[in-house]
């Protein structure tokens, strides 16, 4: 099965190039190609998860063993995110048929392929390439939403992302200049000697800020509200839910494997705290649903950054739990918000016309603010117990900011919820609540069901995540897996 893994990247990539051509000849066949590819990808990854022995493994590509060749590194964490990518790609598949369909679907396939690559890649440069691919496909997709505002937003995003790429490349160049290798395992081996200095730190920070653009890191996330507010909801959901997490994953990977400087974690922590503050406060005043969700997403990513800055295994666990939880919730919320554009006041009395949508919103909101026994609570519980255990006072500030942010979050989310459940309209305001589109509501319900399922199974899932975290934390295992037990032929 392991050798099929390549296909999860290769097939969507191939599909992306072939799709426009096929579509031109047969639309009927074309529309099924994308979902089929992604479904197959899900199946492969699922199988791997179920039938694998739980041990990580590495796949060398192109016949060269690492550290010379490039490789895919597959541990539980990578597998999890790759699977989530394929699955969410399938769920958020752009079905809509118009003249842009081939373009959009091809870009979506490209996005999924590169995202999967981002999750699996074991090589710094490869990561960069996939990262760029993600960026390009995202621009395309946002622009394909083809509203005027979306174009403007895309331009801003494009510029920012471009500069970010340059910075990332700069960082990678620094590393390469220092160590002469870009293989992560090899770097992990060399890092304590060669990168544990100012240069390494500079490289890391450059990469952090570069990749941070996607991961909604504090000062470089200004594209977020506009893009999420103007792009198609399904795309926003995919970006907020998944792509940001993949960028985060990359940063986490680099931090765990290579950069052990305390300054690195400190920077992440500070930026995370600032992100939480800026995001949640900005969301408090947001006047429309999508922007509110976008700001909230910034805040949540800030929380995850705080978790990233935590040193040990429970920290990784917190990152994973928070990321997956946010992935679930934000996707669901963006799907709900599909038809909820415009002023928040339009939502007045919505629960009466669409009780399911109202109920789902409340459910997601409750989990987001960490109401036990919903999974959000357990994620947050992991985070705060870990934060409280640190001696550095900065972590204590992080803890306080996090608690404050949760209060603000509850305040603005439930202001909306209260509006929805308002039955007596005040004078001058007529109830003209938008209906929630059938498809997006169904999708949201899917996430809601998922959330409830997770609530029920929180205990086994928690243990599984703990194992994943332990594996991701283990640097020696990574090095050994990639360098000592190559699957390809050894030079």
């Amino acid at each position: 099965m392991n050798e099929h893994l390549m296909l999860t990247i290769a097939l969507p990539l191939l599909g992306a190039f072939l799709l426009p051509i096929i579509m031109r000849s047969s639309l009927a066949m074309g529309v099924w190609i994308g979902p089929a590819i992604l479904g197959y990808g899900c199946w492969i990854l699922g199988n791997l998860w179920l039938h694998g022995n739980g041990q990580p493994f590495s796949i060398a590509i192109g016949g060269f063993a690492p550290p010379i060749g490039i490789n895919l590194y597959v541990d539980a964490m990578a597998l999890l995110f790759a699977f989530a990518t394929q699955l969410l790609g399938l769920i958020f598949w752009p079905f809509r048929l118009d003249q842009d369909t081939p373009k959009r679907q091809a870009l979506m396939l490209l996005l999924v392929a590169s995202s999967t690559g981002l999750a699996l890649s074991g090589d710094l440069f490869n990561l960069y390439v996939f990262y760029e691919l993600v960026a390009v496909s995202t621009f395309g997709l946002i622009a394909a939403s083809s509203s005027g505002a979306a174009y403007v937003a895309t331009i801003r995003y494009l510029i920012l992302s471009g500069i970010g790429s340059v910075l990332t490349l700069f960082g990678i160049a620094l590393i390469y200049a220092q160590t002469g290798t870009l293989n992560l395992a090899h770097l992990a081996q060399l890092a304590p000697d060669q990168l544990n200095n100012d240069l390494g730190l500079a490289a890391f920070l450059a990469i952090l800020i570069g990749i941070g653009v996607k991961a909604e890191l504090f000062p470089v996330n200004t594209w977020v509200p506009e893009v999420y507010a103007t792009a198609a909801s399904r795309l926003s959901a995919f970006l907020a839910g998944l792509v940001s997490k993949l960028a985060m994953l990359v940063i986490l990977r680099l931090l765990l494997l290579i950069f052990h400087q305390p300054e690195a974690t400190q920077v992440i922590l500070i930026l995370g705290i600032l992100g939480v503050i800026s995001g949640e406060f900005a969301a408090w005043r947001a006047k429309d649903m999508r922007r509110m969700l976008a700001f909230s997403s910034i805040g949540q990513l800030g929380v995850i950054f705080i978790a990233v800055a935590l040193p040990d295994e429970r920290g990784v666990l917190a990152v994973l739990a928070l990321s997956l939880h946010h992935m679930l919730i934000k996707s669901g919320l963006f799907m709900l918000a599909d038809h909820w554009g415009g002023s928040l006041d339009r939502l007045r009395g919505l629960a009466a016309t669409s009780p399911l949508a109202g109920g789902l919103f409340v459910l997601f909101a409750l989990s987001l603010v960490g109401m036990p026994p919903l999974p959000g609570f357990w994620a947050k519980f992991t985070l705060i117990t870990e934060l409280a255990g640190q001696t550095d006072p900065l972590y204590m500030i992080g803890l306080l900011v996090f608690l404050l942010a949760t209060v603000i979050e509850a305040s603005y989310l439930f202001r909306v919820a209260a509006k929805m459940y308002q039955t007596k309209p005040t004078e001058n305001v007529r109830i003209n609540a938008p209906d929630s589109g059938g498809l997006s509501l169904t999708t949201a319900s899917l996430f809601g069901a998922g959330l409830i399922a997770v609530t029920v199974m929180v205990s086994p899932l928690g243990e599984a995540l703990q194992a994943v975290a332990a594996q991701a934390q283990d640097v020696d295992l990574y090095i050994q897996t990639v360098l000592q037990q190559p699957l390809g032929e050894r030079q």
Partner: protein
């Protein structure tokens, strides 16, 4: 598997919730739910041994989640609070059956939501009360908060706004507790009570301070302690009728329960006493005591200015919470007993008062104190209930409120705390003033023309009210009944136990025997009645046959004094109502608003590249330097 009584209780409670959810729209839903509450009460009575001894009943369910074990169990403390919870739920629910339900529906209320929210509240409260470790405590805590939100918000409009305010406060409190739990977890390595008990002794002063502040403020918000009290009155007052009776009776006492459990039982009053505030003479315990007395005084005097009966009562609910905390913080045998007994007593009279006011609203359609009057001739039984309730609330003999307040006063006297004592009495005096305004403006004075045809509240509402009134009187006459439970609660949470008798308290420095006091009082009334009725016959006259300086009164001119009732007093102290807490709340809100404006501005500016580059430069410069 053999079910323990606690399992049965929780199952019963869950079943109540299910029935409310499934059948809540049906005709007899109210009655069914009420009967199920009765079942819960019976299960509680089955556990009555808890109220008289130091035993524990465990629930069969426990979980192991992410390395945390969660368990649930009942002891005397839980049982005492659960008894109050379930009994007030039973009576409130009974009150809502039948006619109130119908009129609620007619006015566009969602009766299904009401019953479900009530059942959910009771269920979550029982879960909270049963918590066997800090994590399950927190879970219960959050559940109770959100269930309360549901009940408060359901009336819509003003109520929703009040509920929003509540949930913001409650979230803040919840997060403080959450942070506190994290700190405890780090310090003790576990969230089990036993582990914490041993860890507390090794904690540094700073740690203990942080914990006291976080838990104290977190739980205090729910109790409506100053300065976190602003949410409570409007939230409770705007809850539909019997719901407000239930919430007013017990909801905010969950905060006290948690304080008792965490601050008193786990941390220990002695430890809290050792936390000195630098450069002052007071310690953390004094601080709590002073917070308690300010919680007594300020809300009570705010209540005096209210012109809406429900708001007036809700404000008093906050103030009465102060007595409970005060008693508990003084923490000698009498104080502890007084504070705990006041929880019980307060629940009885507050529920009765809210119900009586709801009955008045049900019949007249208003709770505006300036639009009522003279109803005693039309709703005499409601008047009696309200009278009994206000005597209890004001803490005068012969009702139960007197006993608990007496105990609190006595403890302050014994400990030699004159200022706290004085403050507590000022609170009582303020209460007397404002409850007289309540009963006068509703029931006394001139009956309005539009209320000529008003009828007494229906029996479905009357019976629970009368039961409550009877409880208020009987527990005033025999305070020993609840004091027995209180004594075992004191034992459980590690406070000294009072020496109680059926009629009151035995003490070297002055005892109290309510049976004698009330007996003599009623004998006095009897003699008074004999004197009174042995004199000539009297004749009732029309209310307009009244002295008006020679003026001829007519029904179309109001001859009633209700607005600005304590004009002379307000002339002096009116200027002292500065609304400082409101100002504080507003300024916090504006601060948040301002910050969020700045943050939004940050994101709205289009020069993202500038941020990126400047950050990059800054970071690199930082590294290089």
């Amino acid at each position: 598997m053999i079910l323990t009584p606690l399992d049965e209780l929780l199952l019963f409670s869950g079943a109540t919730l299910l029935v409310a959810l499934i059948l809540g729209r049906g005709l007899a839903a109210g009655w069914m739910v009420t009967i199920l509450y009765g079942g819960q009460l019976l299960t509680l009575i089955k556990m009555a041994a808890l109220g008289y001894s130091d035993t524990i009943i465990h629930a069969s369910i426990n979980f192991e989640i992410m390395g945390q074990s969660l368990s649930w169990r009942f002891d005397a403390l839980s049982w005492f609070f659960a008894l109050i919870t379930v009994a007030s739920a039973l009576l409130s629910s009974w009150f809502s059956c039948g006619e109130w339900e119908r009129s609620f529906k007619q006015h566009g209320g969602n009766i299904w939501l009401y019953h479900s929210a009530m059942a959910l509240n009771v269920f979550t409260m029982l879960i909270l009360l049963a918590s066997g470790d800090l994590l399950s405590l927190f879970i219960g805590w959050e559940l109770v908060s959100w269930a309360g939100f549901l009940l408060m918000a359901m009336a819509g409009g003003v109520a929703t706004r009040a509920a929003m305010r509540y949930i913001t406060y409650a979230m803040a409190g919840g997060m403080a507790v959450f942070g506190g739990i994290a700190l405890v977890y780090v310090a003790a390595g576990s969230l089990q009570y036993e582990a914490i008990l041993t860890a507390v002794d090794q904690m540094s002063t700073t740690q203990l301070w942080m914990l006291v502040v976080m838990f104290g403020s977190g739980f205090g918000i729910k109790m409506g302690l100053l300065p976190f009290h602003l949410w409570q009155a409007p939230a409770y007052a705007e809850t539909p009728g019997p719901g407000s009776a239930f919430l007013g009776a017990i909801s905010s006492r969950m905060g006290l329960f948690a304080i008792l459990l965490v601050l008193v039982k786990l941390f220990g009053i002695v430890n809290i006493d050792s936390l000195k505030i630098p450069f002052t003479l007071i310690d953390a315990r004094d601080l709590l005591a002073w917070i308690a007395v300010f919680t007594i005084i300020l809300p009570t005097f705010t209540a005096m200015k209210q012109n809406d009966a429900r708001h007036l009562l809700a404000w008093h609910g906050i103030g009465q919470g102060g007595y409970m905390l005060l008693g508990v913080v003084v923490a000698d045998a009498m104080g502890g007993a007084g504070g705990l007994l006041h929880v019980f007593n307060h629940a009885t009279y507050q529920a009765a008062l809210f119900m009586a006011v709801t009955a008045v609203i049900h019949r007249t359609g208003t709770s505006d104190l300036n639009k009522l009057g003279g109803l005693v001739v039309r709703m005499p039984l409601s008047f009696v209930v309200l009278l009994v309730g206000i005597i209890g609330l004001a803490g005068l003999p012969p009702m139960n409120g007197f006993v608990s307040k007496w105990l609190v006063y006595r403890s302050l006297l014994n400990e030699g705390m004159p200022l706290l004592f004085l403050a507590a009495v000022i609170g009582t005096l303020g209460t007397i003033l404002s409850v007289y305004k309540l009963i006068h403006n509703i029931f006394l004075g001139q009956l309005r023309i539009e209320h000529e045809q008003v009828k007494e509240a229906p029996w479905s509402m009357m019976v629970p009210m009368l039961i409550l009134a009877a409880i208020i009187f009987i527990t005033g006459l025999f305070p020993g009944i609840p004091l027995a439970w209180v004594a075992s609660v004191q034992e459980v949470i590690g406070l000294p136990v009072t020496d109680y008798t059926l009629g009151g308290v035995e003490s070297v420095s002055g005892s109290l025997d309510m049976i004698w006091v009330i007996g003599v009082l009623f004998a006095g009334f009897g003699i008074g009645a004999v004197i009174f009725y042995s004199a000539g016959r009297s004749k009732r006259v029309h209310q307009l046959d009244n002295y008006a300086g020679g003026h001829f009164l007519s029904a179309d001119v109001r001859y009633q004094y209700s607005d600005n009732f304590y004009a002379g007093l307000m002339h002096l102290i009116g200027g002292w109502y500065r609304g400082s807490f409101l100002w504080l709340e507003k300024s916090v809100t504006s601060l948040v608003d301002f910050i969020s404006l700045v943050m939004q501005g940050l994101y709205r500016r289009a020069n993202a590249e500038f941020y990126l580059l400047s950050t990059a430069l800054f970071v690199i410069a930082w590294v290089v330097i």
